[in-house]
């Protein structure tokens, strides 16, 4: 985040699944982030909670049920899901 960023904050709900949920010991986290915030900021925060290398550099993510990129901007109330490699079927 830039030093000149406004000091307003936004809250997002982060969902964790499968091995990521196990890794972080929970399946959901409420995060308050300084705006503007991106998916990557959420990932940085998660890395601070565990060993940084435990999450891949660019895990698959979704914002409000739609797949998202690491530099996508977040809005207040967004649901951010961090998805391990899929293994359905």
């Amino acid at each position: 985040m830039l030093p000149s960023a406004p000091t307003s904050t936004l809250t997002v709900r982060v969902l964790l699944f499968a091995s990521y949920a196990e890794l972080l010991g929970r399946d959901a986290i409420e995060l308050e982030l300084e705006a503007p915030a991106t998916v990557g900021d959420v990932l940085d925060h998660l890395r601070s909670l565990t060993r940084a290398e435990a999450l891949p550099t660019r895990p698959m993510c979704a914002v409000n049920l739609v797949q998202a990129a690491t530099d996508d901007l977040l809005a207040q109330g967004d649901e951010v899901a961090i998805l391990p490699p899929l293994s359905g079927g």
């Binding site: 969902l15 699944f17 499968a18 091995s19 990521y20 196990e22 890794l23 565990t50 060993r51 435990a54 999450l55 891949p56 660019r58 895990p59 698959m60 993510c61 979704a62 049920l65 739609v66 797949q67 998202a68 990129a69 690491t70 899901a81 998805l83 391990p84 490699p85 899929l86 293994s87 359905g88 079927g89």
Partner: protein
């Protein structure tokens, strides 16, 4: 509902797609195998990002029904699925068998590639492993899936129940 914790019934899905004008019905069942990588499997535990998985399954159905002249049904189990039980079922009915087979194959491939579902293998010896060896898919948003390492979620090399490899008791 495309996801269910109840046992899957192939006949139910066949009944959903069958009609007097569609004489060819291709189906696929993926069941839990008893062994994987030489280890005896007890069950698979499936979890899902349910609202996104439901949306993705709906998109897959629509895509298949638009691409081929067919009717498609699909269901995927969540929760515990024991050896021999079906984890996923697909049925595709068309007037012609080329279309039915193509649609059925497309749907099972897309389920594996795009639907946010994960499975953990529970072995007879009590150990567990998340299966995360699949290549990440491109989901409905149209964005490219990010490349994930096969060992994402691995905790410092010592938590064997978190180690994710290429093994997969339903990799059929």
């Amino acid at each position: 509902m495309y996801l269910t914790s109840d046992p899957l019934e192939l006949a139910t899905l066949v009944g959903q797609v069958q009609s007097a004008s569609r004489g060819a019905i291709a189906c696929f069942l993926g069941t839990v195998r008893d062994h994987n990588g030489g280890r005896a499997v007890l069950q698979l535990d499936y979890s899902a990002y349910e609202p996104m998985a439901e949306a993705e399954c709906a998109r897959i159905q629509v895509e298949a029904e638009r691409r081929w002249e067919c009717a498609v049904a699909l269901q995927h189990r969540t929760g515990t699925v024991r050896v021999g039980e079906a984890a996923v079922v697909v049925a595709a009915a068309s007037a012609h068998r080329d279309e039915a087979f193509a649609a059925c194959r497309f749907v099972i491939e897309e389920i594996k590639r795009r639907v946010p579902i994960w499975k953990r293998e529970v072995f007879v010896d009590g150990t567990m492993e998340w299966v995360e060896g699949g290549s990440p898919g491109q989901m409905g948003s149209g964005l490219e899936g990010q490349q994930n390492s096969g060992t994402a979620g691995k905790l410092d090399g010592e938590s064997s129940d978190l180690i994710t490899g290429k093994s997969d008791a339903t990799r059929a």
